[in-house]
């Protein structure tokens, strides 16, 4: 593999969907850089309640082709907007249990402010724009897709 191939491959991998549990160590490892004095990450976990209802578990479904392209665009935007060295994001698909990791975002930077800001931007934009849908199963036996209205969205 020549340098150009390796570079292109790296460029394509800043955002990914994963049908398997997210392994954090290699994601963090990929961001290690001599220029970075700061690293911030965010983890979104599956919690046992939503909107006042007890949640037993959930499933994420994605329109993979568009989700990967839009996710990549978001990380590229973060790289352009903030003084960061690099960033990554992975979002789970499939069945998830309470407590499982649903989304991971991380950014490395010379200084901490940019790393925090980039992480927040990536997670906020992924929630707004990437075609991924959550199907929740409730304790009372009901289940349903979440299609939030913008004004109903709540921070998680």
């Amino acid at each position: 593999m020549n340098f150009r191939d390796a570079h292109d491959e790296r460029e394509m991998k800043k955002f990914a969907l994963s049908d398997n549990p997210i392994d954090i160590a290699p994601l963090r490892g990929a961001l290690l850089d001599a220029r970075a004095g700061a690293f911030a990450s965010f983890e979104g976990w599956v919690r046992d309640h939503n909107d006042g209802r007890a949640v037993r578990g959930l499933r994420y479904e994605a329109y993979a082709a568009l989700a990967e392209a839009e996710g990549e665009r978001i990380v590229d935007e973060a790289l352009a907007k903030f003084e960061i060295v690099d960033a990554r994001c992975v979002h789970r698909t499939g069945e998830l249990a309470i407590g499982e990791l649903a989304i991971w975002a991380g950014a490395s930077a010379a200084h901490r402010d940019a790393a925090f800001a980039a992480c927040r931007y990536i997670v906020d934009e992924v929630k707004l724009r990437v075609p991924i849908w959550k199907h929740e199963r409730y304790a009372d036996g009901a289940a349903g897709w979440l299609h939030p209205q913008p004004e109903q969205e709540k921070p998680t």
């Binding site: 479904e61 568009l66 929630k127 075609p131 849908w133 897709w145």
Partner: protein
Amino acid sequence: MARVTVLYFASLRDAAGVASECLETEAPDLRTLYESARTRYGFALPIDRLRVAVDGAFAKWGDPIRDGGEIAFIPPVSGG
């Protein structure tokens, strides 16, 4: 007449009963195509809550329908 593939996700897939279908349509634009699918399947979501994509990229509701295109109706997303 255009031959297209339409993808349905989340609550739209549940309502349609299929994840995708091949259609022959005379709809002039994506808006008309969604409205006819909404009528056919009883989708609850009005068009102003959705986005639309063609061949894996976001598109506009007024875009014309191209023969052989893959059209995805994107209900409000809930990742993260």
